[in-house]
Symmetry: C3
Subunit: 654 residues, 3 copies
Amino acid sequence: MQLGVCYYPEQWPRTMWADDAKRMVELGITHVRIAEFAWSRMEPRAGEFVWEWLDEAVATLANAGLKLVLGTPTASPPKWLIDAHPDVLPVRADGTRWNFGSRRHYDVCSEIYRRECLRIVSAMAERYGRHASIIAWQTDNELGCHETVPSYSPAALARFHAWLRRRYETVDALNREWGNVFWSMEYASFEAIELPNLTPTDANPIHLLDFRRFMSDEVASFHREQVDVLRRYAPTADVLHNFMGFFTTFDHYRFAENNSLDVAAWDSYPIARTESIALPEEQKARYARTAHPDVSAFDHDRYRAIGRGRFWVMEQQAGPVNWAPWNPVPAKGMVRLWAYEAFAHGAELVSYFRWRQCPYAQEQMHSGLNLPNNELSPGGLEVQQAAREIASIPEFARLDAPTQAATAVVFDYETQWMFEIQRHGKGFDYQALVFDYYESLRELGLDVDIVSSKADLSSYRLVVVPSLAVIDDALVAQVERGSAQWVFGPRSGSKTEAFAIPQQLPPGALQRVLPMQVLEVESLRASLAPAVSIDGVDGIAMHWREHVRANSETRVDAQFADTWPAILTHGRVRYVAAWLSHALHRAVLQRAAQEAGIATQLLPEGLRIRRRADLTFAFNFGAQQVQVPAPANATFVLGQPQLRTGDVCAWKDA
Amino acid sequence: MQLGVCYYPEQWPRTMWADDAKRMVELGITHVRIAEFAWSRMEPRAGEFVWEWLDEAVATLANAGLKLVLGTPTASPPKWLIDAHPDVLPVRADGTRWNFGSRRHYDVCSEIYRRECLRIVSAMAERYGRHASIIAWQTDNELGCHETVPSYSPAALARFHAWLRRRYETVDALNREWGNVFWSMEYASFEAIELPNLTPTDANPIHLLDFRRFMSDEVASFHREQVDVLRRYAPTADVLHNFMGFFTTFDHYRFAENNSLDVAAWDSYPIARTESIALPEEQKARYARTAHPDVSAFDHDRYRAIGRGRFWVMEQQAGPVNWAPWNPVPAKGMVRLWAYEAFAHGAELVSYFRWRQCPYAQEQMHSGLNLPNNELSPGGLEVQQAAREIASIPEFARLDAPTQAATAVVFDYETQWMFEIQRHGKGFDYQALVFDYYESLRELGLDVDIVSSKADLSSYRLVVVPSLAVIDDALVAQVERGSAQWVFGPRSGSKTEAFAIPQQLPPGALQRVLPMQVLEVESLRASLAPAVSIDGVDGIAMHWREHVRANSETRVDAQFADTWPAILTHGRVRYVAAWLSHALHRAVLQRAAQEAGIATQLLPEGLRIRRRADLTFAFNFGAQQVQVPAPANATFVLGQPQLRTGDVCAWKDA
Amino acid sequence: MQLGVCYYPEQWPRTMWADDAKRMVELGITHVRIAEFAWSRMEPRAGEFVWEWLDEAVATLANAGLKLVLGTPTASPPKWLIDAHPDVLPVRADGTRWNFGSRRHYDVCSEIYRRECLRIVSAMAERYGRHASIIAWQTDNELGCHETVPSYSPAALARFHAWLRRRYETVDALNREWGNVFWSMEYASFEAIELPNLTPTDANPIHLLDFRRFMSDEVASFHREQVDVLRRYAPTADVLHNFMGFFTTFDHYRFAENNSLDVAAWDSYPIARTESIALPEEQKARYARTAHPDVSAFDHDRYRAIGRGRFWVMEQQAGPVNWAPWNPVPAKGMVRLWAYEAFAHGAELVSYFRWRQCPYAQEQMHSGLNLPNNELSPGGLEVQQAAREIASIPEFARLDAPTQAATAVVFDYETQWMFEIQRHGKGFDYQALVFDYYESLRELGLDVDIVSSKADLSSYRLVVVPSLAVIDDALVAQVERGSAQWVFGPRSGSKTEAFAIPQQLPPGALQRVLPMQVLEVESLRASLAPAVSIDGVDGIAMHWREHVRANSETRVDAQFADTWPAILTHGRVRYVAAWLSHALHRAVLQRAAQEAGIATQLLPEGLRIRRRADLTFAFNFGAQQVQVPAPANATFVLGQPQLRTGDVCAWKDA
């Protein structure tokens, strides 16, 4: 359990630096991230590097005993670079170019820009790569933020052509795979292919999907080029990137492949995220000051998978922020709670954003650990409390990494893209479906691993697949091999890699272990709500339902009032033929967990628990004081069993 | 009563073609439409025609005994054509060009594209024009779809100038007619005139209207050029176009003038249409699985007028589709019901879209008569049932064309344009007003003809004009001449051809037969709801109300609570001075029908009846089982008097 | 109390002019505005002036005894000018150019256009500047209308560079003031600075603010250039501009500085304005036919300040208009009432728009005093009544200018810009907050002056500052100096001139007279509603709340249920730490007025009173008949104490 902070020495007078470093250490902070937006100070004019100020900043912080994370400054190319190479500016879907004046104004496909990035990263890494206090490097900042993936530039088109050529080899193969005979969309060469924007009606879904795959690979290779430089000059430092929560415009699993990441770091703004994502209005209201109880946990569990066990919170909300539709002050205790929550889910480090609120420019309304007048903010005072607790509780010093959970939830980026490209019904959002399943499991008191469908799932007792567009033989083999209970949600196996309907109808290859066929599907307006009852719980289908034909071997466990099957089971495999209302999802998962031999307990509203090593943590996000479900003989190492809103406790079972 | 299907041989292996043809015939299908998206297969490279595959497809289908409709492939120009002539791409209102990658990516005003179209249509017609099994030709596909009318290209501007010159002869005349002295909008030449997009505030309404008239004429002449070629090479075949329902971007009456059409064909997707058009939310909910009971009938009756008696359903929804905000599975029975409904309204042919669901590309979620795995879909099974019934019921074999109804409803495209250009109140939609009147008449059990205001209306007993922006002397003469009851709705006679207020105030020339003047008009927010009672029915004005001064000869039949007249009558002419709530419209029309000597009967909710020859058909779109209003001694040729949801019956009066 | 009208002789046959003039005089009209859209008639081709028609129009009106206001025609450059100089067209934020075809299609930053304007204004002023009947000149028309401020053209960029250079002198100073170290936004030269559009995320707030300051200055200098010409040729005429209500895209106080205006004229469309501005839906419904009782008064009081006491209503709504989302007919009496209301607030002239409804072009659905058939409209009849009353009531002939009110409300344009740039919470609108305070004072029966924060406020007894982003030493000195009660709302003193948070935290310099600090702020979704009770009135915080620390000298007068202070007081200074629900604002202001020795009386719903000279006017905007609060011995010079909806009365106290 280590605490960090983000710091921008270039934004403050040098006279403040030493005092800042001293106060960080006093507060209990061990790590500090710097430099990721300072290109115009490192290189004020093309080729003229100025390191002196950064040397001093690094030295000041290191001398105070702090460990440093250095960010490459490529998220904000300076104006001189844009003036020299205006084509670096990215192009929007409507064909206009973005302009200089904020950040992320670069085209990830620009080869000129990639060259410029390698130049600055090399210079920086060469200078600081072997500094003993610099223990990690961050590439860029929040790749994809502000919807800057994709770009529709000529550079993107040229690289897309090359990408397609690598994937399909011949344009005939591409025409065939894409089904371009439809609407006379056939191409005579790779060069004839356009980007899929500005079409009068929908572009071919596989055209859109391949473009998303391509852009995802571009983001990964942009990062990878920097990593290669960093590995050379900073061979012992960790390399990371600070991802954003709930961002799906590139495939984070692929991004992390081939040693491209040592740690998955992410930026956690739970309240703004709760306000921004697709949650029922009633939940946004209830959790406006605490954030939804699963909104951080979901990404902790996801990024733990991306980082193959190692994850950090690179930026942690420290008070009210500036960028959500509304920005309330967090409930008392939350800034402290979020740190413990991250640790309970396995974080090595929680680093707050930012040391001191910057009184000018775009983020002046974004709080930090200090107010602009340099006194500790309310959030800063909570961090102070947390740091003191951590220092005083011996169990927290020797906390092991979290072990694998019994339950896995599969999250798949390509499924997100495919169902965005083809929602079929307004409001169908794959990630929201996964989140609803995840929330159900967490309400039942379970620890959850979020995993890739390509991971080794053999040691889970329960594998939940809220949906998975493409089901390949390898996954079916995993189902066949083990002894786990499997739950598949709607639209599973509904597509091939080429974005087509499988020849044997959905759920495609899954039919090998679950004999059934989807004959027709329907997206549902809110007023169409087919009723169904599962294990005594009444509810409805929302958004999506399938008309399924069960093979005689397959059992129909629940059916809708109009007799269409709702739940089908064959051996250890369950299929949920609709997007069900929340309590039904929970009923299905509770039954599956029971059959998997996993004990569940329905937690009070707003309470969540999470185990790490021999400790169980409990967090109260709800409006009421609650009693945590600790055994009578539990030993509390933090707090006590009655939790107020925003409070946390941790205990050891006897 | 003949059944057809849409088929895309180019999308399937040749090995399937013969079996497909055989199964079509077995199903009871007699007609098949092909080829309308296959340009890239007919002409894979500029000037290189490949007919061999199409020869075989035509032969295979013809040999199985099927009659063919051939579509010209001009809705989807291939990529090589776009690469050779990028100016063929249309321009959006914001000035950007649409791109290749879907369909309808052409500018109807492009003279190069028109030349290319004549080239492919000539080649195709020359080859297949005299084939005995090819009994009809379709031009293009769904002109105007995806809001591709209008285009704002340089080509459009040049042709607009020529069109204006033909209409006005001198620019002084144009300046005068348009009232360009207003805001110094005067032009020194036709060439100085711009397209009416990108103006800081509203363009001159007559400028907008003339541009819409021009674009409507462009669509018609684009079609007409193909027709001229087809007439030459295929002199005995019918020529048609497949219109869309509820599309008003061009004037269908003008389109059909001068022998440009033999049959008005249209594409009927009742459920998606119900979801898409401006209907009260409560109706969208109630009819989500059956479609609104009048949404198909309205266009059957409209296209019967466009085709001067002859109309086909070229594409009929056969199950769930892919393009509405939500796409539910139709209620059981609807796929069969829609066919009978079309026949009852006079259709010669109902052709389902499509033979088999295509598992790839843009329409993969659009159902057909067969699932992608080639078994009959639920919709296919209903078509099978309908085909067997039709074959077995002798009355259906010798069914005469429908006769003229006693009641006419005037629908006018220019009125739609004028009230779109000048809604005056948010949500004012002329077509929705016409639909509300139409629905009222159908609820009263009446057969309705939809007609042009320029048609000969002399033999109707009741003529309903929900609104008609321009009332000319010819129409007033029709009112004066006959003995029919006339009902005029609000905004009737409110404009001149030049989009100005008539000198004598609205309703303009109508004052000759209905002495009254509209002094002021008001558009109404939902919270402004002037109350009125008509024949014991209470209701309100919505959207629109007029402050009318009745001449002493004119009787005020109903007035609002604040004393302004609601219904004014003079002889056989009624004026409705507001958009009334639905039950009031029905009350007004019931009274008018009664005075016209037309018997009415209020049908149970969701039930509709329609007479053809000596048969009366009944259709149940409602949620409840209902008893049809057949006389006691009626002979049922199909079904029986108790109708479940989605069921149909037909009887002969004794 | 003088009545005027807007007239467009160029739109009517000359044969009507003399009769129009005669009928105006008969109606009681004394002033007529002409010519402001007639450039294409004054100069049909470049350099060819045609004055003959205007000579005749001026003579005809003058000979009838009317006084004339001449408008410069620069709001609608003719097509020949645009064809010669296409760069005159303005550029939208998305980079596309607006097009000819309506009005306001010019870039205020275009030096070519400014030159052309001076040419036409000089020619016009030279010809008519000394005409005895032309008593005033209006520049352009409704500057900023149709959101035509700002422009993003190259011309704007060039002039922005010059403006920045004048303001900051060196680019280093600009970088420092703007805080461009943030996100590497530093510039090497003024020329490197871009306009703040098309940035992937927010531009620097000070960049946006300086651009708005610049555009505001551009509008002012555009006007000023014309004024300089007019002063030369028409030295005795008043110079004015017709502003729009609720328009804040330029700083009207700065606009009026340095003798740039003799009279502040404005265009009053109360019903359309009520429909368009951010009012609670319930108020829009209640006042749909009368307009909100404060919507005109607010701008009367504001423009009285802009015109340093002299203001006119240049265009007054005379019936239903054409441009709001819905356009109802005004309640009976309103067209007359609005004139008296303007006079009560100090207007010298109320000029109706327009003489006769124009039956063609964009404004054909905009009513006037005459219908298109030249009979008086319902509104015209009300004006006739008002004119006769005014002529017959001697008190109205010798009505003095209004005296200063006891209560001032500060309205500040820069605050509007800053809080638009940085709403921080969706729906935060500064002007709506000011309006809520203003409405509260008016409901309490008070006369109000709206004032600039830079005005001399020394003789007010109560100064209300709903918010003021920047609080400078001069304002604090005014607080310290006088004996007035001061009320400051939330976000007061929250920013510096450079759009940064003050070093000592908000409320900045105000802390000198009100020792407190704002630690954190929060924007509130509707479901977050902190409760508070003030003087027995219960309510909530909406939109915005601050977490404030009171210094021990400062008294907390009210606190929220969660204990944060709601009202803080120190001596004569109050701070309201949130946007409160309406009744709470009224409670706060009632208490402050009481302590200032100003008597209040809560008026019945919809009633407003306003004093001028020795008369008190009362206006009933409400749905119920009400009794006005006149003393028992009052003498009524107009109407009587019982007021129906839409009625007005005026009395003298005994």
